[in-house]
Structure formats: C-alpha cells, structure tokens
C-alpha cells in the first residue's frame, strides 16, 4: 500500500534480546527522563496572583460608552440588536427631554438596554454595527453567578463609569480599545 506521508515507521516484530527482556535498562532510561523534568519550568500561571495578558483582539464583556463629557453615546437605533446573531440584545428607545442634555448626547436614547450574557457569543458584531461608538467589547469576561436571571445585564451593569466623576474607573473600563475604533 502506498503510504500517505513519508513519516511511516515499520513496527519491529523482532523477538526482544536478553538485554531488552531484562527491562531494567529501559526502566532506568525512563527514570532519567522523569528526573530531568525536575529542572524544567512549569508552564502553569498562578492564576489569582498572576493573570495572563489578553491579546489585543480579545472580545469580552460589552460596555456602553460615554463621550468625554459623560453623555451616553447610544441613540437606540437598534442596529446592534439586528446584527446580533444570538439575538441577545433588547432595547427600548425614549426621547430626550429638555434639561437632559448633560445625560444623553443626541435627541434619542436607550431607556432600557439589556444583553442576555447567556445568549451572547461575544462575536463583536454589535461593536461593528454601531454607528455611534456606543458599544464595545472590553477585556474582561462575564463573572460567574448563581442565577440565570443575573446574567441579563441592564444599563446599570453595562454603562461605562462617568469620565468626570470617576476618571480612573473610566480609564480602566475603556482600556486600549474604545476610541481607537474610529480609525476604521
């Protein structure tokens, strides 16, 4: 039969010699191999103390973005909900009332914005679909919980901290990703 690759190795059917049948040399050889592993580095990372850096394209938990003055970007256009292949996003739009200009950037905003994290597949299509720079996938992952209903994240869970009131938390949540997106 023709071999598919050139890596084929014939199995030796020769009866073992006395030296091989003593097994002890082979046992010692094996023990030398295991002993040599004492000096090898462990690839394990001590997790809670040390965290592995995420890759720059990591797609984690969504955040709803604000502009520099702390106004919400989202206009509840629904493009993210349409783009979502898992149908995880629901929203309800509302009109901005006079006196709410410091809260919402444009005349329309999302009164309710929910993502079901059990349905979300973290594909990032919502981020691609958004015309207003309002939604980003951050570099954190969804924390575990005991109840399914806790995984329906609402605006309170998703909104980024206020850039003026909590500038440090805002910077941390923003990461290196949001804002650079406008380039493409």
């Amino acid at each position: 039969m023709q071999a598919l690759t050139n890596r084929v190795k014939e199995v030796s059917r020769k009866p073992m010699s006395l030296w091989e049948r003593m097994y002890l040399p082979a046992v010692f050889k094996g023990m030398v191999i295991t002993f040599s592993h004492i000096f090898k580095k462990t690839p394990t990372i001590n997790y809670p103390e040390k965290k592995r850096p995420f890759s720059p394209v990591f797609r984690g938990l969504q955040i709803l973005n604000r502009d520099e003055e702390g106004r919400e970007n989202c206009t509840a256009c629904g493009l993210c909900a349409v783009a979502c292949p898992a149908e995880a996003i629901t929203m309800e739009a509302a009109e901005r009332q006079p006196g709410e200009e410091h809260l919402y950037r444009e005349e329309k905003y999302a009164a309710r914005y929910e993502i079901n994290m059990l349905r979300c597949i973290f594909c990032g299509l919502c981020e691609d679909a958004c015309p207003k720079d309002a939604i980003y996938l951050s570099e954190t992952f969804t924390p575990a919980d005991y109840q399914r209903k806790q995984f329906i994240y609402n605006k309170k869970d998703l909104l980024i901290p206020h850039p003026k009131e909590e500038p440090e938390a805002y910077k941390k949540a923003l990461g290196n990703r949001a804002g650079n997106k406008t380039a493409n």
């Binding site: 046992v27 094996g30 191999i33 002993f35 592993h37 462990t42």
Partner: protein, 348 residues
C-alpha cells in the same frame, strides 16, 4: 519477688514508642504531601500550593476533610470486620517500626538509652511476620465490603503479597548468611565497621527492593487498588477516616520499608566515610548525626518510591505473577546459592 520492675526502663521505652509512632505518623502525613509535590514536579506542574506557604498545611487540610466526610458502612457488609480492616492495616503498619534501630545510644539522666524500641535477636523475622499480617487488614476490609471489586482487589493483594514475600525472604537469607545475625542492631554495627551490605549483596538488594515495592502495593505493583479497572480496589466501599487509615497505612508502610532497606543494605544510622568510634566523645551529638543520616537515606528511598511511581505504568496481573514466580524466585535462589558458594570459597 524475684522480678524487679525497672520503672525507668518502662518510662524510657514508653516515651520512645510514643515518639516513634508520632514521628512515623507525621512523616507519613508529609509523605502524602511530598507525593503530590513530587508528582507535580515530575510532570511540570505546581502541585498543592494554596494551604499555607508552599502548601505545607495541605496534609492537615486533607486530614480534616477526611474527618468531616460522612462515614458510610454499607448495609450488607459485615460491620465488625468492616471496621476492623482499616484498624488492622494501620496497626500492622506501625508495629513494624519497633525493631528498627533509629540511632546509636544517647545519654540522658545518667542512663544509656538505646534508640531502638526492642532489640530482639530475631528482628528481621519479626518484621516479616508483621508485614505478612498486614495483608489481613486489606483482605478483611475487602471481604467485609461485600463488593466484587473490593473482593478482587483483596484477592490480588493477598496473592501478590504471598508471591513476593517468598522471593523477599530468599533474598534476605543470602544477606543473613553474609551477616550471620538476625538482629538489625548488630547488622548496623557490622556495617559501621566494614562495608555496607549493598556491596556484598547487590543482586539481593535488587530483588529486595522490587519485592518491597510489591509489598507496599506501590506502582508498578498497585494492582489491589488499580483504580481504572477496580474503581478503588479493596477500599472501594470505604469513606471518611477509614479510607484515610488505608491510604495512611500505605504511606507508613512505605516509610518503614524505606527504613528497613536503609538499615539492611545501606548501613542504617552509619555515616559514610566517617569513623564513629574515633569521635565517641561527641556523645549525644553523634547519635543525632546518626539519626539524621538514617533519615536522609529513608527520604531518598521514599523519593525513589515516588520517582518510580511516576515513571512506570502498572503491570498486568499475569505479568506480575510471571515476574514474581518465574523470575524473582529463581533469581533469589541463585543469589542464595552463589552467596553460599562464595562464603565456602573465601572462608576455606
């Protein structure tokens, strides 16, 4: 009254017994930790490192966990025997330590205290007797569980220990012919003045160490508890501290057989290239050095047990019997005859 009771001797021996038993329990405890750590290191893992610095409190956590687990006694088991099994395994494991000389004499309160619980003139025979009793703990537990996997495990343990005890005994006969004594203390003293017995009996040592692995039910001879064919073997039905006793007695057995091997073949508490007799004025320090030397040898052997465990896979049952009956026993017989011939030839 002809018999005067030496109260000081009784106290001295009691203290020694308590110290030795406690020490072997603590060492066995930390051997479980060492096993996990050695396994991890040999497999490029980290091993237990959460409980305390470097995980050194892990054995305590394990023990606590075992105590808090539910004790289950199966409904159709023989209850008395079921409880007796682990106790017997533990008892025989600890009893062996009585005749091992842990060090030379120490001098306290104007008395010379020998660091050996009982220097009986049939030391090795005693060890043999107690070790063979050890299989009863496993067998009784396996039988009382009323579970086919346990029973198979128990049967395997019994046949394995009987088979390997023969070869072990014959390999020791050769050693006894060389040393001319059954007392472990005298053997150590001989080795202090001359060569270690490993030089005189290399083949005997090889047979002895293989049999010791089999007697301790350690890999590659851990068929009685082969977890991937027999669930847990003889301790399948056991839970809580009864299971802990079985696992613990295995580690104590390991510790004791390491000590026996060190005593028989590697000079016991003898420090290599060091003349003890020339430094007799060091007193208790000399004995301490001896204890440290013995412990170093024991630790090396325990490491060897683990090292082999994480290197070699388990034997098949027929291979085990083949090795025991058709290779080790003839080899041991040959060793005995060759030793006898050599003694005749050189002492002519």
């Amino acid at each position: 009254m002809f018999l005067t009771i030496d109260l000081a001797l009784i106290i001295e021996k009691l203290v020694l017994i308590i110290v030795v038993v406690m020490a072997s329990l603590v060492i066995a405890m930390y051997t479980t930790f060492a096993e996990r750590k050695v396994a991890a290191i040999l497999q490029d893992r980290r091993g237990p490192n959460r409980a305390g610095p470097f995980g050194i409190l892990q054995p305590l956590a394990d023990g606590l966990k075992l105590f808090f687990k539910e004790e289950i006694i199966p409904a159709f088991s023989s209850k008395a025997l079921f409880v007796l099994g682990p106790g017997l395994a533990m008892l025989t494991a600890i009893m062996t330590s009585a005749v091992i000389p842990w060090g030379d004499k120490v001098h306290f309160f104007g008395r010379d205290i020998s660091l050996q619980i009982a220097d009986i003139n049939i030391g090795i025979l005693y060890i043999f007797g107690v070790v063979s009793l050890g299989v009863y703990g496993i067998m009784i537990g396996a039988w009382a569980s009323n579970n086919k996997f346990s029973l198979i495990g128990g049967l395997r343990a019994a046949s394995q220990i009987i088979s390997y005890e023969l070869a072990m005994g014959i390999s020791l006969i050769a050693l006894l012919m060389v040393t001319g004594t059954l007392s472990l203390k005298e053997m150590v003293e001989q080795q202090q003045h001359g060569y270690w017995n490993i030089v005189k009996q290399p083949l005997g040592f090889l047979i002895f160490i293989i049999c010791a692995f089999a007697e301790c039910n350690r890999t590659p001879f851990d068929l009685p508890e082969a977890e991937n064919e027999l669930i847990g073997g003889y301790h399948t039905e056991y839970s809580s501290m009864k299971l802990g006793f079985y696992l613990f007695s295995e580690y104590i057995n390991m510790f004791i057989s390491s000590a026996v091997m060190a005593t028989l073949f590697f000079g016991g508490y003898d420090v290599p290239f060091f003349n003890e007799a020339a430094h007799a004025d060091w007193g208790n320090w000399l004995a301490l050095i001896g204890i440290v030397a013995l412990m170093a040898k024991v630790i090396f052997f325990i490491f060897l047990f683990m090292w082999v465990r994480w290197t070699i896979p388990r034997f098949r049952y027929d291979q085990l019997m083949h090795l025991g009956w058709r290779i080790l026993i003839p080899l041991a017989l040959f060793n005995m005859l060759a030793t006898g011939g050599a003694i005749l030839f050189f002492n002519k």
